[in-house]
Amino acid sequence: MTNNLLFDFTVDKTKKTVYITREFDAELSLVWDAFTKQELLDQWLAPKPMTCKTKYQDFKVGGKRFYAMVSPEGQERWAIQEYTSITPKTNFKMYNAFADKDENPELHGSEWDHTFSEENGTTKVSISIYNESLERLERILDGFTQGMKMALSNLENLLTTLSKK
């Protein structure tokens, strides 16, 4: 599928922040649901071949979503999101931290800010992700590890194929 929808991805290392902007060919309320309802989030948040499963979600200020990214081998990487601010269909903020399977969060997390706007049936979502330490920005970005593991396993497959020749 080709489209002309905007996709912008920038990193400000000095501000320890990643900025992502994307347009979607759908009305705002639908896009809002896709970002805030677990049954929809679980359908797209994990880059294939990973899958995403939400154990529970309570979308309100102070509420949490406890979820895991699951690798094809069944390895689970749990994380907790706590909603810190919600302005329906306009903006929501959350604090994201990796956790163990018993919901014990790791020390450092990241702060996520999502802003939604609609124009002529196209919905724009702007996300900023602030990481508490630069090290985090470089190492702990959500999905980062999985991405690296995938890349490494792809590399390994390639090497295996090459070495068989």
């Binding site: 979607f24 759908a26 896709a34 991405g147 090497l159």
Partner: protein, 106 residues
Amino acid sequence: MRRDIFQAIADPTRRAIIALIALQAMTPNAIADNFNTTRQSVSKHLRILTECELVKQEQQGREIYYSLEIDKMKEIDQWLEQYRKIWETRFNQLDNVLSTIKKQKK
């Protein structure tokens, strides 16, 4: 003895160790807690990773912490490029979810 990076990542346990310490610096014991294997086996893997210069050790008090040698792995921009690709994939998946829902509504 110098080893190469391919040897470092050829083993699934070492790949898992890299993934773990990519998240934060860890002691050998903390790393070993994540595996159904002996502390000695983890130490061996850490030694190989160290020889490949993929991880570095840092003494903090009485503990030694292992962390990922990012520069050696790849330039940060290449890492971020991967992260960007993950978001690209995610959003393409979201496009599909949205278009499916829109069709159902009609």
